[in-house]
Amino acid sequence: QNAKVSNATVAFLMPDQASTRYEEHDFPGFKAEMEKLCPTCKVIYQNADANVSRQQQQFNSAISQGAKVIVLDPVDSAAAASLVKQAQGQGIKVIAYDRPIPDAKADFYVSFDNQAIGKSIADSLVQHLKKANVTAGSGMGVLQINGSPTDAAAGLIKKGIHEGLDNSGYPILAEYDTPEWAPPKAQQWASGQITRFNKNILGVAAANDGTAGGAIAAFKAAGMNSVPPVTGNDATIAALQLIIAGDQYNTISKPSEIVAAAAANIAVQLMAGETPKPDTTLFNTPSKLFVPAVITAENLKAEIIDKKINTAEQLCSGRYAEGCKKLGITQ
């Protein structure tokens, strides 16, 4: 595409393993687009496993290897500021990816907004409850299960969920920051709340699919067959299957490949010395934002199967076949 851009090195630095999306969707999407735009370019991929220091190490090593553009999904948005400054001091462009870097002006920001995701999780739950004419009687309400207390992204989602729930008319009975996003912890906590509140739990707003699965397991283990609506996030196969089986209410599907491709596009433009066109400006940074989709049983086929994010075979194995039929995914 551009003669100036060849043999360049681009780094794609991802934050953690809390969901598989980075290795299963974001990086393949980025790589595919880069191969299209600049076949001779070299792409460095690293995942920091939720460790700030490791991300710094990976960032430095990307610079050592001569990266011209670094796409950074920061483990800690605040801490990333110094990385951005350091890179820009050496003439290296930084694209903030997925999570913003408010304290430093990155060269571009490509994302969906985690706080917005949190809000849509909550909104979807509230709408569902309202639609089902559930009213919060005395002592009734919803549970909120957040992500890891030491994870900045979890903090943003938590904020968003609060935004959606706080004035919804459904009080929060109890909320929990799940250490390490660990599903067993979420399960243990939810079990305790079930003992406490029993039938008064109208729904659960969980920050990702893992913790949602833990909550569902808790309800099942308490012998409840009708699980109240439980939200999720990340659209993992396991969660989609739970939705098909009717155990989970929703999840959030992020078009990661598309966003990653956009990031690749912008990276190539920056290397070529062009100025990519922003949609908007966030935190003083030219930005391109994408809207995640809330997936429920109703739109699962349309959003997941039809958009080829997952195939019917992946989802409809064994005992999910029946549910798939019901939703019209398979015949």
């Binding site: 969901s19 067993p184 399960q187 003992t195 397991a217 283990a221 005992r319």
Partner: protein, 419 residues
């Protein structure tokens, strides 16, 4: 024989009662007095941990009356079983004076393996479980080889294992992230729902007392025959009745709600078997000997390498078993399984229960006691609405309090010359 011994022989005292410097307890009064003496001198076994536990329970109960509700206690028992099995393995490895940092990873990988083989590949569940257990045992054997052949410190070998196996787990689940186990499967039911029918639980609760009595009676008879002091029948009876009554009350209380989980039954069964193996078999004796003084054990002709091999294999094998149980409990195998504080919790349970980190001292029951302490704290805090910062602080503080009681008792014991 000296004249003193001859004099004794005239009065025909029992073989082990010839030393006039030792006070012996006679009858029930004596037993009570001896017990009181032991309390004063701090030789209490696990009593202090139990006292610490009682304090924790009282406090949590007063803060939220749901805590001691049978339903919550039953949840507690379910949760205890998974990490408890891992802690049992840790007890084995601590007894020989080594450590295994990779139990978390092994448990996580085992759950992933069951998920992949059973759900994704469609293997029969029993084969998948066997494969996971086999994997655990093989990992343990690998550590043992590193330790025996290369003399690699177990801390480093198992740290390398922790990382590698975590990598394997991520790799195995790489494409899916987590795998749901079918809710209706017997394995998941076992981990989530299955409880003992009431008569079975009452019968099982009566068993320990009966076995204790029968064995105690037979041993007392044999000792009397051999010219050794037998345990007085009254005090034996007293203890058996006490144990039975306490257990039956607990069972009754829990049967008010769902009842005793089979999974907890499995855990306790493993503890009892392990306790038997450690205290009443040659192998167990040799484990303690190797942990206490490796060189002395070697000189006594013990196959020290074999003992380490069994200890590592048991530890990793039980870790894998714990992993399978927690997959069953969660009805899912995920990338997060076994990460986080599983390692620390399992080791801490063993240590809190009274197993020494330095080898040579420990019992299977310490895993049971320790995990109950840890899970009680976790469960109690779950019922209070706390921010995570407060939750961490309080967990730490409560843990400290639970152990201080025990430490103080041990301290007084040491100052009475019984280390």
């Amino acid at each position: 024989m000296t004249k003193g011994a001859e004099q004794n022989a005239q009065a025909a005292p029992l073989l082990d009662r010839r030393d006039e410097r030792v006070k012996h307890a006679e009858g029930i009064g004596g037993a009570v007095r001896a017990f009181w003496d032991r309390i004063r001198s701090g030789d209490l076994g696990s009593l202090p941990v139990v006292v610490g536990l009682a304090i924790i329970w009282t406090v949590f109960q007063s803060l939220n009356p749901v805590f001691l509700a049978p339903n919550n206690l039953i949840n507690l028992l379910f949760d205890c079983s998974t990490v408890g099995v891992i802690a049992l393995g840790i007890v084995c490895i601590l007894i020989v004076g080594e450590i295994d940092l990779s139990v978390g990873s092994v448990s996580g990988f085992a759950s992933a393996l069951v998920g992949v083989l059973w759900v994704n590949q469609g293997w029969p569940v029993s084969i998948a479980i066997l494969a996971a257990l086999l994997f655990g045992v093989l990992i343990g054997a690998l550590y043992a080889v590193m330790f025996n052949r290369f003399g690699m410190p177990s801390f480093v070998a198992t740290l390398a294992g922790l990382l590698s196996i975590l990598g394997l787990q991520l790799y195995l689940l790489g494409s899916t992230g987590s795998i749901n186990l079918p809710y209706e499967a017997p394995l998941v039911n076992f981990g989530q729902l299955l409880v003992m029918p009431d008569p079975v639980s009452y019968a099982l609760a009566a068993l320990p007392g009966i076995v204790m009595f029968v064995l105690g009676y037979r041993i007392a008879a044999r000792r009397r025959e051999a010219g050794l002091s037998p345990q007085p029948l009254t005090s034996l009876l007293l203890r058996c009745v006490l144990v039975t009554v306490v257990l039956e009350i607990i069972v009754y209380y829990l049967n008010l709600d769902r009842g005793i989980p089979w999974m907890f039954g499995l855990f306790v069964g493993l503890v009892v078997v392990m306790n038997y193996a450690l205290t009443r078999t040659k192998w167990g004796r040799q484990m303690l000997a190797v942990g206490g003084n490796r060189e002395a054990a070697r000189r006594a002709g013990i196959n020290v390498r074999f003992i380490y091999m069994t200890a590592f294999m048991l530890c990793s094998g039980l870790a894998a078993a714990g992993g399978i149980l927690s997959a069953a409990r969660l009805a899912s195998a995920s990338q997060q399984a076994g990460t986080g504080d599983v390692n620390l919790n399992a080791i801490a349970a063993a240590v809190i229960g009274g197993t020494s980190l330095f080898g040579g001292r420990g019992s299977a029951y310490s895993a049971l006691l320790g995990i109950i302490v840890i899970q009680s704290i976790a469960s109690g805090l779950t019922l209070l609405d706390l921010s995570s910062s407060l939750r961490y602080m309080i967990t730490g503080a409560v843990l400290a309090i639970a152990v201080i009681v025990d430490s103080l008792a041990r301290r007084s014991r040491a100052s009475h010359g019984r280390a």
